[in-house]
């Protein structure tokens, strides 16, 4: 059996004295689309911060292509081909749309994505490229954030709450763009509170509850009731 692209082994994470993750195990194969769901405060964003290197962990707790990356800095992780679309978009306000995208290409990794192909995916960005990133609507900003992550031509892309705070029609159009991204062979992890949206594009799911994995399995094998129980921590 080939080694998974990303594997987490007994991952703990702390903010000072507060422990946010307890022994999380996870394995993600190349080409998979994984949904990570969970209520507010379940540890989803902490998990993203740990994987992307914004939080430091023990080296062996996170492995990427067999390499221990738990203790690497975020910029080192980025160079390995792992990109995060952060919660709340977090564009650089001093940079224009185009500059935000160009900064995403800072790692110099090559692949299908370039300024041109990102603008083909989200044509509105072509029009707005010289504008300040803060002048865009929330949905357009989300497109920049996704485009910025794609610019590094990642092998694994993490989406943290990409539908949060956006109008349903915008969420729909963003989710419609996802197959175009994943179709390029990129492995993806989608973190969502909106369960049905996340499950609609994923093959497997992990549910987090209070910092622990409370449920995992193939999307088609899991029932609504199981998810409800794992999500809220109550027997359905």
């Amino acid at each position: 059996m080939p080694e998974p692209l990303l594997s987490l082994t007994a991952l703990d994470a702390h903010y000072g004295d507060f422990q946010a993750l307890f022994g999380v195990d996870m394995a993600i194969e190349e080409g998979e689309v994984i949904a990570i769901i969970g209520a507010n405060g379940a540890g989803k964003t902490t998990l993203m911060r740990s994987i992307s290197g914004l939080l430091t962990n023990a080296p062996e707790q996170i492995k990427y292509r067999g390499q221990a990356i738990g203790a690497l800095r975020a910029d080192q992780v980025a160079h390995l081909g792992l990109a995060l679309v952060p919660e709340g978009r977090q564009l650089f306000p001093s940079l224009s749309v185009e500059e935000n995208l160009l900064l995403g290409g800072k790692t110099g990794r090559t692949g299908p994505w370039s300024l041109q192909t990102v603008c083909d995916l989200f044509p509105i960005l072509q029009e707005r490229r010289a504008q300040a990133s803060t002048s865009l609507s929330g949905g357009q900003q989300q497109m920049v954030a996704i485009g910025r992550a794609l610019m590094s031509n990642p092998d694994l892309i993490l989406f943290d709450e990409i539908s949060l705070g956006l109008a349903p029609v915008i969420i729909k159009s963003i989710y419609e763009a996802l197959p175009g991204i994943i179709g390029q062979g990129t492995t993806a992890v989608i973190v969502e509170q909106d369960i049905s949206k996340a499950l609609s594009v994923s093959s497997r799911v992990y549910c987090l509850q209070e910092g622990r994995v409370s449920l995992t399995g193939r999307v088609e094998d899991i029932t609504r009731d199981q998810i409800t129980a794992a999500y809220f921590g109550v027997a359905a």
Partner: protein, 288 residues
């Protein structure tokens, strides 16, 4: 009347030097919110490095720039990565106190190495040469200093807004975590910013050393001039910093015209007046 016009023109040209003192301070604050108390002492260090280079190699101070600029940039990168990066964080005390300590160390190391005797860089004919403009004799050196200041600020402006390096500076300044996610190593970016700031400081130090005599104790005063130019011009605005330097320079030469003892005092008072009337400076950066 012509005397007063002359004082104003001399002040404007002097402002160029102050803008050079200030540009590095402004750059560092813009990228990493660090206020370097040792900045003035680093200017003096550059002047002394210039002195050693000119005496050892027998070259003109401008040629010495070829050695002093990279040397100061290297020093900047090393102290940033080796020392100052460890002080950055939400608490303002560590960077303040560490750079304050650095200032005392630099001052006394210079005192140990070069004694307290005033020194000067010899610029040759350029020091006394002047051109006649509209009945006023303008020194070539002050004119050149001002020209260099404008060129340095234009260069920094271009670097900041039109190059990949500048994009990295702005991104790290906006959000360190997200910049790191994009593959920027902030420790290295901060090192580069300090290297660039001290490269500018090297130019300022050499020009200062040709213009006036210097000794290890005068760093604090240069820090204050640079700081005043930054605040008068408005934080985060490089052209504003040049304007701030000019206003400070003019205030000083006019003060000196009234009474020689008032030169520096008049500059401080101009600064305090701006602070009272326009606390954000005259040309604050428009926030997004």
């Amino acid at each position: 009347m012509i005397e007063w016009v002359n004082a104003v023109v001399q002040g404007i040209l002097l402002g160029g030097l102050y803008a050079l003192f200030a540009a590095g301070l402004s750059l560092i604050f813009g990228v990493m919110r660090l206020v370097n108390i040792a900045h003035g002492d680093l200017i003096i260090l550059a002047a002394y490095l210039g002195l050693t280079t000119t005496t050892m190699l027998g070259v003109h101070p401008f040629v010495a720039l070829l050695i002093v600029v990279p040397a100061m940039a290297g020093i900047g990168y090393v102290i940033q990565r080796g020392l100052l990066n460890q002080t950055l964080g939400p608490d303002i005390l560590p960077p303040l106190l560490v750079t304050f300590g650095l200032s005392v160390i630099l001052q006394n190391a210079l005192l140990e190495g070069y004694t307290a005797d005033p020194q000067k860089l010899s610029g040759g004919v350029i020091e006394t040469a002047s051109v006649n403009v509209g009945g006023m004799a303008l020194g070539v050196l002050p004119l050149l200093t001002f020209g260099i200041a404008v060129a340095v600020i234009a260069g920094l402006q271009w670097m900041f807004y039109s190059t990949a390096l500048g994009r990295g500076f702005r991104a790290v300044s906006d959000n360190q975590d997200i910049a790191q996610l994009m593959g920027l190593n902030k420790a290295h970016v901060f090192g580069l910013a300090m290297a660039l700031a001290l490269a500018v400081t090297a130019i300022a130090g050499i020009l200062l050393g040709i213009r006036t005599s210097f000794d290890p104790s005068i760093g604090g005063g240069r820090l204050i001039f640079g700081f005043e130019a930054v605040i008068i011009g408005g934080l985060g605005n490089l052209w504003g910093t040049l304007a701030g330097g000019v206003i400070l320079g003019v205030a000083q030469t006019i003060g000196a015209k009234i009474d020689p003892g008032w030169q520096v005092l008049a500059g401080h008072i101009a600064f305090l007046v701006v602070l009272a009337v326009r606390p954000n400076g005259l040309f604050p950066r428009v926030s997004h």
